[in-house]
Symmetry: C2
Subunit: 459 residues, 2 copies
């Protein structure tokens, strides 16, 4: 890929192996060595590069921080990785209209901190928020614990600037709270996993910080009772901002990793937060505590913001902590209607016991989004194959319960062979048509989302 | 269109002129006589009809209650109107998961009443809610006063069942709160104005009713000060559920029409509602009253729900009432960032005075969405042409202020010749590509949204 020096300035890209090694993988554990990595600084750079790539049939893979769990940013052979470290400015902060404009490389946590200083917040808060980028969040339609009350990334993206695969610049959406002018291209790009356009600028809605937040921990001797508490709380019309579940295996893993002193003689814990005006939330917290007590849950309130932060540090450490239990985990993020959470959890327990393969469950129980971690070892082929069979069983159970095979991680590479369990051929036909309309040459993040051709191996 | 009797059962359609006359028009004032009107009862009926229409190149126009103001459901020559009176069932009410499933012909107000009995509500509340259908709301991505706090139709549609122009049935979305599985076809269909698919079933998110609502009226001697109060309230981090503006001409028209006793010696009135827990909203109402006082507004609180309903009846009567002032009004619904509302209002006053054409302004000031009513007479050609010139000026001003030419009415026929003021050729290219992908023969609601070919007359 020597000819890149005709399109790009020196120092804005690299073809050195030590650089390429850093940019081919993501948190899915998959990796492919790209041919080049480019660090653009402007949309114009990207437009020029895409024109070049389009003319020369070169694959391009946009990449945020590589925290994705389904391989959405893994390189392809002979591809160029577009990495956004140098496009990380917060361009505009318009608090009077409750929105901000950012470049795609801004880290979610950096935006949160900048907003907090001024009394505002950006609701989507994936567990990887101190690493992941807003561009990646938009591409994957990221969620996080607060999605329960506040919704997902899609609900906050007002405008996008993006470069189409042929190099044309497109600006979608409006800087107003509503608009009905043509088709909603903004939301078509959100969650499209970098397969339709390269996002170069994002206007996000933000909200004033709530007056107060109360955090409650509830410990249960039954995973099912924890699940039932969750669905009763929602049915009673209370909408906490978060309602996170950790099962026994998860609690034990976090203790080993962070030593936060979670009880280990219980079957499940809920971490519930309610925000709003101080007076309003006191009443809701009482109701929530009563519901948990009714299912034999022991309730504790986190007294101050320091103890709250400790709990959240622990919650965010769950995913890395689980690696302490076994060398490999297959991490799925299924989602079911919240009333079906108890059935999902007991079904997963059944699947685990029948196969003799440990499954750790945690996640956003309040919106029915459970992270299912099948514990295994990649280097023990037989063991791994056994574990992988449970993925299809997990998805089958999820879909039977009216759910979806991915709540927030996306399809990427790892789930592409399962997507037709959820989407029928009419949906896939239309989606393939859209992909072709945007990217006739299939050069932008190829091989992601869509089912692989028969006989190929994507894992 | 005699051959319809091969596809449709007797009594499910009509080709009689007295029926056709009732179904060719909508609230835009435009009308075209269709060749037939069909009242389907199932998605299977519609699928069969669309296959027939597709094979025979017959245009089909889906129609809700015809309350649209931009001609989105106006017939085309030799077309079939699909009308949904017989598909008006609320199919499923799942309060434990906070959602309902409805057929497209359900009237918004009927759904509101059914939910209210159980302690829930569906936030989108267009002024025409006692007439308009949920199917039409989805097609137009309808808003309403409460959009300020709760968002628009798009934010509540979870799943759609629809028939594609070639007759294939498609089911999009999920019944869970989140999912990232392929492209977001649900939100591509929302707001597509019946040009991509015929919607046959809809799952909507609903919310628990707030504990309390307080309604406040503020009277101003300056339209600009009313606008400044609006933008200060938002900037101070208060999010009322509605913040409606009426100017002097609007107030006078409503008084003549409904005799509600609005003061007429003022320049503008704001109708503000705050909802939430009783304790929380008391504090917010004080803040709002103080801000209005600071701009010389006189504030009054509506004491009970009866007086509140009276105010809202009056507000919803604005659009019909304005016809009492002049025989024709050109009704636009521009939207600007909320800080720009004062500039928009004073700009419109300038446009009105310079041309000597009255313009009445009212609408959802809290989210920057102003309904601009240019008062004229269709039967006086010179007068009408003068008035129509102000449309382009209004849009130009709106776009200069960072706005959009339609907040909630859509493009339909009446705005199609202006859409390229807002959308560039890249956007229009992609949108045309999407239309072609769904509807290669251009039989479904043709001529809507996209700019007419040069030389044609759409009005």
């Amino acid at each position: 890929m020597k000819s890149l020096n005709n399109v790009l300035a020196e120092g804005t890209y690299s073809v050195e192996k030590e650089d390429l090694l850093c940019y081919g993988y993501d948190a899915s554990g998959l990796d492919v060595l790209p041919a080049a990595v480019v660090w653009p600084t402007t949309a114009a750079d990207i437009s020029k590069l895409m024109q070049f790539a389009y003319q020369n049939d070169i694959k391009v893979i946009p990449r945020g921080a590589g925290t994705g769990l389904t391989g959405g940013s893994v390189a392809a052979n002979d591809s160029i990785i577009l990495s956004f470290e140098k496009m990380n400015r917060i361009i505009e902060v318009d608090m009077r209209n409750l929105n901000v404009v950012v470049e795609p490389g801004v880290i979610n946590g950096d935006l949160q901190r900048a907003l907090k200083d001024q009394g505002y917040f950006y609701p989507p808060d994936p567990a990887s928020l101190n690493t992941c980028t807003i561009g990646g969040n938009v591409a994957e339609n990221a969620g996080g614990p607060r999605a329960l009350k506040y919704g997902v990334t899609r609900d906050y993206v007002m405008q996008l600037e993006a470069v189409l695969p042929d190099g044309r610049l497109i600006r979608t959406g409006v800087q107003t709270k509503k608009s009905v002018v043509g088709y909603d291209l903004t939301r078509l790009l959100v969650g499209s996993e970098g397969t339709l356009a390269v996002i170069t600028k994002i206007r996000l809605k933000v909200l004033p910080l709530p007056e107060n937040v109360i955090t409650l921990l509830a410990a249960f001797n039954s995973l099912e009772y924890a699940g039932k508490s969750v669905s009763r709380i929602i049915a009673d019309g209370i909408i906490p901002r978060t309602m996170e579940l950790m099962d026994r295996m998860t609690l034990s893993a976090v203790n080993k990793y962070k030593n936060v002193g979670f009880p280990e003689d219980i079957e499940a814990m809920l971490l519930i937060e309610i925000d709003g005006s101080t007076k309003a939330i006191a009443a809701d917290i009482d109701k929530v505590a009563n519901i948990c007590n009714g299912f034999q849950g022991k309730v504790k309130i986190a007294e101050d913001s320091a103890s709250r932060e400790l709990l959240w540090d622990a919650r965010r450490a769950v995913s890395p902590a689980l690696y302490k239990l076994s060398p490999t985990k297959i991490n799925e993020d299924v989602v079911v209607p919240v009333t079906k959470v108890p059935e999902l959890l007991s079904g997963l327990q059944g699947i685990s016991e029948a196969a003799g393969v440990p499954i750790a469950c945690f996640g956003h129980a309040g919106d029915g989004n459970i992270h299912v971690n099948i514990m295994t070892d990649k280097n023990d082929k037989q063991k791994y194959d056994e574990a992988e069979k449970l993925v299809r069983k997990t998805f089958k159970l999820t879909l039977e319960l009216g759910g979806s095979i991915s709540g927030e991680h996306g399809i990427g590479l790892t789930k592409s062979k399962y997507i037709d369990m959820e989407l029928d051929s009419v949906n896939l036909d239309i989606m393939r048509g859209i992909k072709k309309l945007f990217d006739a040459k299939n050069i932008l993040n190829p091989g992601k989302i869509f089912p692989p051709a028969a006989g190929s191996d994507v894992r």
